[in-house]
Subunit: 241 residues, 2 copies
């Protein structure tokens, strides 16, 4: 074991959180989330990487049913508009998917981005202004993995109008809602992502997505032993399902 490597059980925990995490929409139980559990997953989010240590996030925890109904109505409008973008044969399947659990989940949670936090000049945000909002996205994924370890399901609802969200939660003009999440205990975590199970899209083969040094240098030719290990790991992950 390398000196800073975690022991087997702790490593297994990290990989289980990553591989068993799901985007949950339909399995929520009404059980309340204890405040100590909620505090831990919020602290996890707060320990995400942030550009220049700017910590540009805020967290709005939503319990109020009328605000959530307003958000649910915004989803419904955006969802119906989105359906028109799909071809007629795809549209029917699109409309069959459940894409939010806003009212079923015991809690909703909005993670925001405040570009003025510790600004205007932030270390590392000078070449790419998007680095700021990326920090809030890292907070979302960190919270999601901690939640999985706690047995909590999380669903990211992205079919929402930003203006509707801002007015529902009374966000200040400069603050952007980055992620609107549904959060709660679940009856079960689906074995695979729902869109994979529904054969909407396949899981891509990782080895086809890895290049070496330059885009055109595929892993198979340029680094055969890495290609082989990627393939072996894919088989192992598949066999554990």
């Amino acid at each position: 074991m390398r000196s800073h490597e975690f022991d087997a059980a702790q490593k297994e925990g990290v990989y289980r959180a990553i591989h068993l995490r799901r985007d949950v929409r339909r399995q929520f139980l009404p059980d309340p989330v204890p405040t100590d559990v909620l505090a831990r997953v919020l602290h996890a989010a707060h320990h995400a990487p942030s550009v220049g240590f700017s910590q540009p996030w805020n967290f709005v925890v939503l319990q109020d049913r009328s605000i959530r109904q307003t958000v649910r109505a915004s989803f419904q409008r955006a969802h119906e508009a989105a359906a028109q973008l799909f071809s007629p044969e795809k549209r029917e399947q699109y409309l069959s998917f459940k894409l939010e659990g806003i009212l079923e989940a015991p809690l909703n949670l909005c993670v925001t981005y405040d570009p003025s936090r510790f600004g205007p000049v932030v270390i590392g945000r000078t070449s790419n202004p998007m680095m700021g909002i990326f920090s809030s996205v890292c907070a979302v994924q960190t919270l999601w993995l901690a939640a999985r370890a706690e047995g909590l399901g999380v669903g990211w609802v992205s079919i929402l109008d930003e203006g509707d969200l801002k007015s529902a939660m009374n966000l200040p003009a400069g603050v952007t809602p980055v992620a609107y999440l549904c959060l709660g205990y679940v009856s079960h975590f689906p074995e695979a992502p729902e869109l994979e199970t529904a054969q909407w899209l396949p899981r891509m083969e990782l080895q086809d997505l890895v290049a070496v040094d330059r885009w055109e240098q595929g892993c198979q030719e340029a680094w055969p032993s890495l290609h082989q290990e990627i393939h072996a790991e894919a088989k192992l992950l598949g066999s554990r399902r």
Copy 2:
């Protein structure tokens, strides 16, 4: 224990990865990263959430020294330009920070975003086109946490010109480099983020960042027991340092 909650050791692994993860720039060891370890962290990234299961990422693993020297030169130019944005008293401290380990790390890794993947219409990307690039950001943070469990340090170098990166790796016109990472084993992981230790910026108090239902409803007044648990967890995390 709740039915889908991880056992104590596995949960500890997840939280240790989150709280002990660092943005590494100066502690890299030259030891090569074994291909099986690299394969596991790449699979972790590939199992990040992606909008509409679009998996819009590619991974360019860089070993070639001359390409990395080109990227290092791009950093140097962007870094000098960035320094001019800070006030004279801040500029000296800014220039004292080491902000990349491009040549010291045994590997560099670029995570990209391809908006055309499974497009043009992607479920969940219809209201907010940024959801696509957010998926690649989630892949970065997922890889970062898996790497920490493996004992690997990761540093995200964001002070780079996008055009320089694209030409160095010969990325196709439509593909965006989202994160340029340095990766390798390390002598140690710093106890706290370097910009915190250097007193550039303080760690914010999480309880000041949490609102309930609406932006103006602070946690302390609107949900005192949650406020208390957040405070208690902060003390616990502080005492473990």
